[in-house]
Amino acid sequence: MRGLLATALRGLRSRGLLTAGALVLTIIAVASAVLGPIYQTGATRSFLVEKLRSEPPILTALTFDYTPDASLSVDAAVVDADAQATEAAGTGFAAPHSFVFSQPGLAPNVGPNGGEPRLVSVPGACQHVQLTGRCPTNLNEIAILAADSQQLGVKIGGSFHPWADSRTVKVVATYRPRAADAGFWLLDTRLQSSPAVPATPINPGHPYRPGPWLTPQSTFEKTLVPWTVVADLTLETPPDLETTQLAAVARHTAALINDQAAALPLPDSALLEPGNALPRIAADVLARQNVARDTVTPAVVSLVLVALVLLSRLLAAAMELRRGELALASLRGWSRRRLWVLGLVEPLLIVGVSTPVGLVLGYLAARVLARSWLVPGLPVPLALGSLAGAALVVVATGVVAVLVVRDALSETLSAQIGGVRRPSKAGRLGLVLQLLMVAAAVVVTFAAATRGHTGAPDATDLLLPILLAVAAGIASGAAALVVADLWVRFTRQRRGLASYVGARTVRRRREGTLVIFPLTAAMAIAVFAAGVSGAAAAWRGSTAATEVGAAASYSTTLSMGQAVRLTHDLDPQGRWLMAIAEDSLPQVDQARLIADTPRLARVADWPTSWTPGLGPGALAQRLELTGPSIELRGSRLGMTVDNRVRGDFAQLGVEVDYLDDQGNTTSAPVGPFRPGRSTQVNRLPHCRQGCTLLRLVFGGPDALVESMNGSAAISSLTLDGHRVADALDRGWRAIDSPIGTPSAVRGAPTVAGGTLSLDFRADTSNSYGAVTTDDAPARVPVLWGRGARQTPRLANG
């Protein structure tokens, strides 16, 4: 046995290059089999943690509002609230972080028309804002949001009575929120000021809400302000977060949100604030994690496969060189068993040496990769899959070695001694296997190409790159044989000897062409990997653009009209700012984005992959409304109307709806107009800087809808005595009633010679008569998302 080992070592040394190659390849195969599963597990885990950490904390955190018994002190209430919140939230959340907030209540002396101030006390508040002045530490001292100081009309050092009674607060500082402290305050709107929103029939509106006033705890204890404790529990995302843990936390949270489980210890005094989207986020992240893992699989498998194929080539080459050796041994009368052992010792030695090295290298590489690319602190355990992969590689190498040795031993002695191999036909099984691979590649490609939709990748998608690579390898091997065959025939009588002999060798040694196979496969897989990586990069860009929309995005509590007004004031040219709004439509249960589209191309970040073939410029053009709207700038609106309407009322009332200076929808009455031609001038509030005309509504004295028949003509529209430009020489159209009642305006309004003429016919009082300019078309252009359910009608407003 020792002699055998010595022979084997000598043999290995004599074919140093082949041995080294085989060693390296085995090490690569084992190492990548070890590395693959470890890295895959690590990467998916890291994906989970990173994804959760990248979500805004408000979406993953739980916030409880705790209303204590009147008898409890602030400290006791905070302790009680923390205990209750911790108990209700269960595992998976960090320790609660509690704020003491005053309960909202109207304070008449806050701002010009009264407001709803809130006091907040939390340890460390002054350290987590940018403070100007000193930190409020004494009773009834407060720090206010810098943006509010003008609206409130107080400066640092001033004091005032916010409430109707004599309670006084003293402003000792102003503060500005800092982006770095978002984690402390959890919700960035907590430190925001919100202007008053007037009540409308749809929206109850709210008074002015200044940013919270930071104050010491004693203010709550000594001043009679009703207060509640708000406890935030952020989601803990340790690097070793398991998917099962996350799923359990998400389930518990879902139960809390739905308030289904009576078993949950959610006491009556603690109320969960809405806003947590953890169940949806968790489901989303877990699904994407599976997709990510599945997509990595081909790369892991292919590296091992390529290494194995190359290894088998090298082992076969080594065996070919050893055939003389085997022939000698069999001449010396060695038994078949000993011949097998002699043949197998060398490959087994290679496997034996390289397996531990490969294991160690693979594990180390996995650690290095995990440390440099993945979430810091991620545990890198040796996965069971890695060991199984390594074992599989070792077994596969062993099988290859056995096959190679069997081939060599099954040759006749004369062939072994002869040293020259005769060309042999490919085996039937090999042929069928190759054909099967090609057939599978053809079918799977066809399936992928003709698939109806692009959903989550299934098994065929994952197999496709491998199959294509293998088929390409087989095809190029076959092509090499065919070319060699043709070349042999061509050079048989004509050219020099060298090319003839070379081509003949290729043709006769079929297995030689197998080298092409792994090379082609490797290249195909590399191209695939590069493609996937490129697509992933594009996807990341696109997703980032989806989340932010442009280089930077600011959230605001302004209404859409106000936001548009603000951006147009700050940036009249439309070069840097664009207002967008998002809402959800309950009837169709989907989200909707409304943008100031003329600015889309210049301001927004719009990857072309979102609308292939339609760049942001072209898209903005299509979404843009057709013309400029009518601008009203002044304070007194005059209108001349020729009233020929007969109805329940003799007079005709007109109401002008417009977006005022602040961007709010406002309406002002004009008239009423008596029968015949008359001019009326009325006040137009809040239009110093320029309002946008929305529509004209017609009806009785107060433009209330009633039955009316006949026609009316508006022959002039003036503001402070000046004619309104571009108003009565453009297209107008009737508007459908917002509640689906019939339109009182018959036919299309006509404009001729600076006069807008309308025909009315309304028999009942449930009609609606209104016209608008043609800049807003009756059918507003809409861009549907790919997965959106398209409906012909959407609510406006």
Binding site: V432, V442, V444, R451, T741
Partner: protein
């Protein structure tokens, strides 16, 4: 040359011609009609694939029959190219003519289909491309076969009996391709609806047929009787001997899945039509839910023929709601819905009916009876009139007794929404009447100064109702006026009438009682009528504002005109084309074997076996082939029917429609398989057993055909 050839080998050529014509017609027709009606033309793919495999078999057999002519040409010194073109030219001509004829037929066929489905049709590039592709594929097949023959060794080509060969690389590859395609198609069919999934039945049929071919080939010769032994021996020896079953199995599998698909989609259409119509006749009512209710009660006070329904087809499942006049359901709808998932809803609806329901006010004068009036009280009755418009009727009460005002727009039936009082004074109202109908019962003290300013008209805070399964807990629901109110589920129901599989069902009368205004614009208001409703009642209903009725038949017609229904028709077409192809192929296959069989019978007669025994052996062979095909078809039908049907998009259903029932129907599977298998077996047996009469041993001497 073509005509010469047709004269010489008329029947063989005709069959090839017919084969290519069928393939091109179906390919062009389906692609053309599919293009204009936006239906997937994937089914054409299988027909073309099957046609090409049949063509390869058939062309091969035909050319082999003339191999000695080719060999003679080669002996005379023709080049290989010459031999190949000599062999291929007539078939190329033939397939060209066939493709042209098929394309013309296909275009005609497509325009007929398009016309039937109300689409305008004109020839476009895809049809030409398909015809060209079929032609090119045919030519490639013919060339490949001809090239193979021209490469045959000369000695073999001249030999009387051909040596057996293993299958060529191309054939092996095709076989493997079909198997792999079948496997992948089944996988895809489980989760996708791409081309491969739609073509899955055909591919699986071809694949299973191929497996069956391999199985039959690997059966060792057995049997003590000569017939069985000869048959099994022949299977093993001749690679082409069993190839005919491949196409029969494919045709059978496609026929089985298509039959199941047609049955399932027909059943679904019946269900969907019944649910969406609601009853035998369904009248739309423009003026909203109250008008429908009032019209039905006006035209049919006894509740014997008319049933008002109001439905809200919202997108969110728990917002979809139907209000039916539940007391009338059993009598009016009866067992019209008993075959649908609504089933016996009448029994369930019995739990819904009951007081209080809305009081309909019909007349032209509103009167108020009041006692103890002191001071002055202004009574405001708000109501919804015939046109679904809210109205306010103001009545000034300044004396005890009856006070009346004119009432407009309440011919069919108004409903009161609210009665409020204002003013300095008090009164006791005992009745608010229109005609003999009173809105209030008992005494109602009105004293606006002391907050007694309202007469309550409304019902329960939570409406009882039924929900379809899977909606979860629904706590509130919008009424006909769009205002949310409480919902209390008292049971489950299989479907919501008019809306389909998802929704809530409540009582219309109660909901109208609770409405604070008229029904919102999206209301779908209908009056459902029995089929035997008297004309007078219907006339009254029309006069009360009902529109043109739709019926069950109209709904079925509408559902049959959808893209999915066209898809099922395409599938039927595909099945028919495949069966025709399979039979044609079986005929051609059997005919190509006739000379051999004749010789075999002659040889057997020399050794004393009767021609009857030989004939029996052929009959056994045919029945074994047909029987194995039937077994394979039934097995696939029973095991894979559901999987193969799933991606076919049998129905046009929005997700709210009832689900289509895809369960396997063994009787249908078995009978379809039997029909296809027996037809194929009969064709084979008919051709193979016939020539025995002419197989004299003397024929062997002349070695002629």
């Amino acid at each position: 040359m073509l005509f010469r050839r047709l004269r010489a080998h008329g029947s063989d050529s005709l069959m090839t011609l017919a084969l290519v014509v069928v393939v091109t017609t179906v390919g062009v027709g389906v692609v053309g009609a599919g293009r204009v009606t936006h239906t997937s033309a994937a089914v054409a793919f299988v027909v073309v694939l099957a046609g090409l495999t049949a063509l390869a078999d058939q062309v091969g057999a035909e050319m082999r029959a003339h191999r000695r002519d080719l060999a003679l040409g080669r002996l005379r010194g023709q080049t290989r190219a010459g031999v190949t073109s000599f062999a291929a030219a007539p078939l190329l001509m033939l397939t060209f003519v066939a493709a042209v004829v098929g394309a013309v037929l296909g275009v005609g066929f497509a325009s007929r289909l398009a016309h039937r489905w109300d689409a305008s049709y004109s020839v476009k590039l895809p049809e030409i491309a398909v015809a060209l592709a079929v032609l090119v594929c045919c030519w490639v097949t013919v060339f490949a076969v001809a090239l193979g023959l021209s490469r045959q060794p000369l000695g073999e080509a001249l030999a009387v009996r051909q040596r057996r060969h293993g299958a060529s690389l191309l054939v092996r590859f095709t076989e493997l391709l079909i198997i792999v395609a079948a496997v992948v198609a089944v996988y895809e069919a489980r989760q996708d609806n791409g081309w491969l999934a739609i073509a899955a039945p055909g591919l699986v049929g071809l694949g299973v047929g191929q497996v069956l071919v391999w199985l039959l080939q690997s059966v060792p010769p057995f049997g003590r009787r000569l017939g069985g032994f000869l048959t099994t021996r022949r299977f093993g020896r001749d690679a082409l001997a069993v190839g005919v079953v491949r196409l029969i199995v494919a045709a059978g599998v496609v026929a089985v899945t298509t039959a199941s698909a047609m049955s399932a989609s027909h059943h679904w259409r019946d269900q969907a039509a019944r649910v969406s119509v609601g009853g035998p006749l369904s009248f739309p009512v423009e003026a909203g839910a109250l008008r429908a209710y009032a019209a039905a009660h006006d035209a049919d006070p006894g509740g014997r023929w008319l049933l008002p329904i109001a439905a809200y087809d919202e997108q969110r499942p728990d917002h979809r709601r139907v209000f039916v006049d539940s007391a009338r359901w059993q009598r009016v709808v009866g067992d019209f819905q008993s075959s649908t998932s609504l089933g016996d809803a009448g029994a369930a609806f019995r739990q819904l009916k009951g007081e209080p329901t809305v009081t309909l006010l019909r007349g032209s004068r509103l009167e108020v009876d009041a006692t103890g009036v002191s001071g002055r009280i202004g009574l405001t009755v708000r109501l919804v009139d015939d046109a679904n418009i809210p109205r306010e009727i103001r009545i000034r009460l300044d004396h005890s007794g009856t006070t009346g005002v004119d009432l407009r727009g309440c011919r069919v039936g108004c409903a009161a929404v609210d009665i409020t009082a204002a003013g300095p004074g008090h009164a006791a109202v005992t009745a608010v009447r229109v005609g003999s109908t009173s809105l209030v019962r008992g005494n109602h003290m009105l004293d606006p100064a002391n907050h007694q300013n309202r007469i309550a008209l409304h019902g329960l805070p939570r409406e009882p109702g039924f929900a379809t399964p899977g909606l979860g807990k629904v706590a509130s629901i919008d009424g006909v006026d769009g205002q949310a109110k409480g919902f209390h589920q008292i049971g489950e129901i299989g479907a919501a009438p008019l809306l389909g599989a998802q929704g809530l069902v409540l009582d219309l009368g109660r909901t109208l009682l609770d409405a604070r205004s008229g029904s919102i614009p999206v209301t779908i208001a209908r009056v459902v009528a029995r089929a035997d409703t008297p004309a007078a009642v219907l006339d009254r209903l029309r006069a009360d504002g009902a529109g043109t009725p739709t019926s069950y038949d109209a709904a079925v017609t509408r559902l049959s005109g959808t893209r999915e229904a066209h898809g099922v028709e395409f599938a039927a077409l595909q099945a028919l084309a495949l069966v025709v192809l399979a039979l044609l192929h079986a005929l051609a296959w059997a005919r190509a074997r006739v000379p051999d069989r004749r010789r075999e019978t002659a040889s057997l007669r020399i050794v004393g076996v009767s021609s009857r025994a030989a004939r029996t052996s052929y009959a056994v062979e045919s029945s074994v082939l047909a029987g194995s095909a039937i077994v394979a078809i039934v097995a696939v039908g029973l095991l894979l029917d559901r999987v193969l049907l799933a991606p076919l998009r049998l129905v046009s259903g929005a997700p709210e429609m009832p689900p289509v029932d895809l369960s396997t129907q063994p009787v249908l599977v078995l009978s379809t398989a039997l029909v296809v298998g027996v037809l194929g077996g009969l064709v084979l047996a008919f051709v193979l057993t016939r020539p025995s009469a002419a197989s004299r041993p003397a024929a062997l001497r002349s070695d002629d055909r």
